[in-house]
C-alpha cells in the first residue's frame, strides 16, 4: 500500500527535479510494456543543454529500452518526449535523427562491408546526393560535398584514432574500435544530442580513457551527451548529473557524488 503510493508520487518528484540550464531533452511518464513485463514504468528523464548526463541502473533496469523510446526505435505506450522544445515521440526514427538526436547501440553496430570512411560519410545529414535525381542533375555539387565531408570525416577519425583504418572494412575492427567508430559516426551527423549506450563496455582501459577524453573534449566544444554506463569511474569522471533507473522506474537523480552515497541506489545495486 505504502509502496504503491510511493511509485505514484515518483514521476511528480522527478519532473520537479529541474536543472538550472535549459533542458534539451525532457521525457516524462514514459511507459513500455513487453507483454506482462513493464520494462519502463512512467520514467522521466531530462538532459540539460551542454551537459553530460548519466543514466545508470542494474542490469535489466530498462535503460536501453528507455533509449529506444527516446530515439523512437520503440513506440512508447504512454508518455511524451520533448526535444529542443518540440514533441518527437510521434516521429519516425530517422526523423528523430534529423531533429539532431542520434543514438548508438549497446553492442556497437557497424556497416561491415563498407569502409570505415564510408561508415562516416553515410552519417552526414541531408546530403545532396541522397536524392535519386540529384545524382543525375547535380553531380558537381555532390562531388564538392563529398570532398568536404571526406575531410571532416578524416578529422573526426583522427580524433578517435581510426584514421589509419579509414579504408579498411569496418567489419574488421575490434569491439573497442567499433565503439569509437560509432561515436565518431554519431558526431558526423552534427547532432545536438548524442545518446551513448555503454561506450566503455568491452573496451580496454587505455581505450576507455581515450574515449572519455574525447567525450569531454567534444562536450567542451558544445555537444550534449546522455550516457548509459556501468563503469562507475567513467560515470563519475564524465557526468554532471546522473539519473538512476531500477526496474523501469526512476530511483534517484543528482550529482555523481550524491548518487554514489545514496542508500536507495546502493540498495538497488547490492540488494538489501
Amino acid at each position: 500500500m505504502s509502496e504503491s503510493t510511493q511509485t505514484q508520487a515518483e514521476p511528480a518528484d522527478f519532473s520537479a527535479a529541474r536543472s538550472e540550464n535549459r533542458s534539451l531533452l525532457a521525457a516524462s511518464g514514459l511507459v513500455k510494456r513487453f507483454g506482462g513485463l513493464v520494462a519502463v514504468d512512467r520514467a522521466t528523464i531530462e538532459v540539460a543543454q551542454g551537459s553530460i548526463t548519466g543514466l545508470i541502473g542494474p542490469n535489466g533496469a530498462g535503460k536501453t529500452t528507455l533509449f529506444n523510446l527516446l530515439s523512437n526505435f520503440l513506440r512508447p505506450d504512454a508518455g511524451e518526449v520533448l526535444f529542443d522544445g518540440h514533441p518527437i515521440h510521434r516521429l519516425a526514427p530517422h526523423q528523430v535523427a534529423h531533429q539532431g538526436l542520434v543514438r548508438t547501440f549497446q553492442v556497437a553496430r557497424v556497416l561491415s562491408r563498407l569502409s570505415v570512411l564510408e561508415n562516416m560519410l553515410l552519417a552526414t545529414q541531408r546530403q545532396t546526393g541522397e536524392q535519386f535525381w540529384n545524382v543525375w542533375l547535380r553531380a558537381g555539387q555532390i562531388a564538392r560535398e563529398e570532398r568536404a565531408e571526406r575531410d571532416r570525416a578524416m578529422e573526426i577519425l583522427h580524433s578517435v584514432g581510426l584514421a589509419e583504418k579509414a579504408h579498411d572494412y569496418a567489419g574488421g575492427l575490434s569491439g573497442g574500435q567499433r565503439k569509437l567508430l560509432e561515436i565518431g559516426r554519431a558526431l558526423m551527423t552534427n547532432p545536438k544530442l548524442i545518446l551513448l549506450d555503454e561506450p566503455a563496455a568491452g573496451v580496454n582501459p587505455t581505450l576507455i580513457n581515450q574515449i572519455c577524453d574525447r567525450i569531454l573534449q567534444w562536450n567542451q566544444a558544445g555537444m550534449t551527451f546522455l550516457i548509459i554506463e556501468h563503469n562507475m569511474d567513467v560515470v563519475m569522471s564524465l557526468c554532471d548529473r546522473v539519473w538512476v533507473l531500477a526496474e523501469g522506474r526512476n530511483l534517484a537523480v543528482g550529482k555523481p557524488q550524491e548518487i554514489q552515497t545514496n542508500p536507495q541506489v546502493l540498495e538497488a545495486y547490492l540488494g538489501k
Partner: protein
Amino acid sequence: MRLIPHFPANVTFQVRPKTILLPDRDRHRRRSGSALVGYKPTALHKSTKQRDGMTNYLVSLIVVTATYALFSLGLNLQWGLTGLINFGHVASMTLGAYTTVLLSAQAVPLPVAVFCGALLAALLGVLIGFFTLRLREDYLSIVTIGVSEVIRLVALNEEWLTRGAFGVQNFPLPLAQFRPTLFSRLVMIGILTLIAIWAIGRVVQWLRQRFQKLNGAIDGTLIGVALLGLGGLWVYWIAATSLYRFSDNPARSGLMLISVVLTAIAFWMLERLAHSPWGRILKAIREDEEVAKALGKDVFWYKQQSLMLGNAIAAVAGSLLAWQLTSVYPSTFEPLTTFYAWIIVVLGGAGNNAGTILGAVILWAYFEVTRFLPNLVQALHSAVPLIPPTIDPAREGAVRLMFIGLLLMLLMMLRPQGILGKKEELTLDR
C-alpha cells in the same frame, strides 16, 4: 515444365546433334524472307551462308545474354546492393513483355510501350513494398514469389487480354522496318564501338588493379578475365559485321544494338548510383538497417526506390525478351527465370554490376556448350554400351540444370564470394 529458356534453343535453332552450331536451314530461309528467294546453293554461296549462320547465331546469343544481364542487373540492385530478397523478379519481366507487345500492337509507339511496362513494374514494386517492407524481411521474399506466379496465371487465364496459352504473336519489332543508309550504319557501328572501347577499358583497368593487388603474380581469375576480354573483341567484330550488313536481318541486328545499348546504359547508371551517396544508403540498409535508421535515413523509402528501379529494369529486359522471341507465352515466365537471375548474380558476385554481366555471359556460354550433351552421350555410349545412345530432351534439360547446381556448389566451395566478389568480405563479422 520447360527447363531451359526458350531461346535460342527452341526458336531459331533446333537442338539436334548436327545443328549444334549451324542454324536450322529451313528456319533460316523463312526468317530471312525475300533476301534468300531464288537462292541456289553453290559452293561459294554455301560457305557465305555458313558464315552468315554463325553470325546470326552469335548475334542472337548477344541479344539473349544482354537481356539476361539487364534482367539480373535489376536483381543485383535489389539484392546485391540493398539486400532485398526478391524471389519473384520474373513478375516485372512478365509485365514488361506483355505491356510492350499489347500496347505496341495497338499502335502505341514502342518506346512509349516499353516505358509503360517499366512504369507498371515499378508500381508493382511500390505495391509489394508497401505491404511487406515494414514487416520482417522474409515476408518480401514470400510475397514476391506469390505475386510472380499470380501474374503469370493471370496472363494464362485472362484470354481476352493476353490470348492465354496461345500467346501473343505478330507485334511490331523495333527497327524491323529500318533500312539504314551506309552513313546510319556507320553511326550504329560507332555507337557499338564506343561501348566496346568503354567495356574493354574497364576490363583492362580491372586487370591492372588485380595484377597490382597480386604483386605481379598471375592467377586463374586474371587469365580468365583476360581471355574473356579477348573473346569480347571477337564478339564485337561479329556484332559490328552484323550492323554493317544490317538489311540482311534488320530486326535481329537492330535488336542486338538496342539490347547492348540498353544494357550498357543500365550498367552505367547503376555503377554511378552505386558509388553515389544514394547507393551508399542502399548498402547501409543491406548491412544493417537499424544503423541507417539511427543515422537519419528513411529506410522504407530507399527500399521502395530500390524495388521500383530494379523492377523497371527487369521490365525493360522483358520487352527485349518479347522482341527476340517474337512471341510471348505465359510459360516463358515461370519461376525458373527468376532462378536464372539469381544464379547470374551469385556467379558474378553479389553487389557487383560487372560481375552480374560476367555471370550472364557465363550462364549463356554454359547453356550453349551443353548443347553438345547429346553428342557426349552418344560418344559415351560407344565407349560404355551401358549408357543409352540418346537422351530425350526433357532429361537433357534436367541434366543441364543439374550441372548448374553442381557448378554452383563448386563455386560456393572454391569461391563463395562469386567470381568478381571480394573474398575479404566473407571473413568480416557483422
